[in-house]
Amino acid sequence: MALLENGGAVPAGPLTKADRDAYARRLRNRSLAVAGGSTAAVLIAIVVLVPLAPGWEAVRRSFFSGEVFVETFPTLLRAFMLDVAIFLWCAPAIAVVGLAIALCRDVRNPALYPLRLFGALYTDIFRGIPVILVVYLVGFGIPGLGLPRPWNSPYIWGSLALILTYSAYVAEIFRSGIESVHQSQRNAALSLGLSDRDTMRYVVLPQAIRRVVPANMNMLIALQKDVALLSFIGPVEIFRQAGVYKSLLANFTPYVVAACIFLAITIPATRYADYLMARQARERS
């Protein structure tokens, strides 16, 4: 029989638990050493090779200037709070509208058929238009009607554009959750004499909503980034503020700062969504 050599030799004859543990430990240390070594090699290559590129010095000065970084960071962080605020009022509205649209598409009552049609049209339209276009159309179009203050605020209409687009996606997510609840659950509820409405509200929806939490987390992460699109219609949020600095200082570092600030939020959120997703996959298997 061929022997594995990865973990070194083991004593001949019957093995004790200590022998087996020691072998497993050697195997683990070896993997760690290999992973660490290869990562270090790649990092060293980047650190050593990239600066050898002819344009490196210019790029370093205009994108990675430590001075500009320190100077612009506090203001950009403050501007980012505006992104966070917009995010915070859009997210609940998106959840409510998305759920309402998902339920519209599920109504069976013929008198409410228009709602069904509306739900289908809504999701088709707003999933079919790029977000930036909706932001432009709603954000410039509606204030263009000459509404009085505060109804001409780009915050309101820009937020509405995000809500319209994102609730179309979120509605589809909720709907897939509703459909993933097995028919036998509905039947069990109906057989107790529950109405269709109560069946949806107490049996189907609670299970559906739980199942789509990870998918909705991913939508929230995307939304947090797309808030920056509102900069095109006025609000001086982080992206716009970075642009102001770029012109002022003739330096691109503020954009890198903005990217870092976004990453500080989105990386943990993405990890958390992945964790939820993995946990759910485990629970269901």
């Binding site: 659950q185 069990a188 057989s191 004499g193 529950l194």
Partner: protein, 244 residues
């Protein structure tokens, strides 16, 4: 309690005709077992009685009233008929107690506080008193199935339908669920059971009906049907089971 009469019930799914005129009477307080090969339509028949499936032809009389009329409100009928499924179908996001209270809360508009004494009695009666606040995934199969029975009973149904409720259980858990059925029978509940547990049917049923080819081919007291089946097909079915 109530009587149930099926008269010429027919049901097809597309081109497959599952019931071709089923006649069956269940008297007040009686336990009737439906037996028959897999695919003979036992589950379908029970689902039709509970109005989870509409029938094509015939009548389903509950206490003499035709409940299969399409102009009848199915909710009012379903609360009078309890059904328990092979796969339990408990609501996984609710505790056992919440599972049991949902129906009476929503349908009879009773509060949790008002329901609690009643359902506690039910849980105690079926040996589940210490499981009330467990979630379904914290219960054994046998416990889940007993909670499902309690859930149906909490609606105070006039008749109970059971669809192979022990088929998904490990053998050592079957007994505790069958005990519940014996208990209900002793209390005079009207019951219709689809089952593969022939020894239980023989021991506990008042009558056994053999379903074949979409009809009740033969029915009678268990002693008669199992010992001296009149029909060749019944005999073949029973001897196939005996060999298995």
């Amino acid at each position: 309690m109530a009587t149930l009469d099926l008269i010429g019930v027919s049901k097809s799914f597309g081109a497959t005709q599952v019931c071709r005129g089923i006649d069956l009477s269940v008297k007040d307080g009686e336990m009737v077992c439906l037996i028959g090969a897999s695919g003979s339509g036992k589950s379908t028949l029970l689902r039709c009685i509970n109005l989870l499936e509409p029938i094509d032809e015939g009548q389903i009389l509950l206490d003499g009233e035709d409940i299969s009329r399409p102009d009848l409100d199915p909710q009012g009928v379903r609360r009078r008929i309890g059904i328990v499924f092979q796969s339990f179908n408990l609501f996984p996001h609710m505790t056992a107690a919440e599972n049991v209270m949902l129906g009476p809360r929503r349908v009879y508009r009773r509060s949790r506080a008002d329901l609690l004494p009643d359902i506690t009695v039910l849980f105690e009666r079926f040996g589940l008193a210490d499981r009330m606040y467990h979630y379904p995934d914290q219960l054994s199969g046998g416990q889940q199935q007993r909670v499902a029975i309690v859930r149906a009973l909490a609606m105070r149904p006039e008749i109970m339908l059971f669809d192979e409720i022990t088929s998904a259980l490990d053998p050592e858990l079957v007994g505790e669920v069958l005990d519940v059925l014996r208990q209900l029978r002793a209390e005079g509940m009207t019951m219709v059971l689809a089952t593969h547990e022939m020894s239980f049917a023989r021991e506990a049923a008042d009558r056994v009906a053999f379903l074949h080819d979409g009809r009740v081919l033969e029915e009678g007291p268990p002693a008669q049907l199992f010992e001296t089946p009149r029909h060749e097909r019944t005999r073949a079915f029973l001897s196939r089971l005996a060999r298995a």
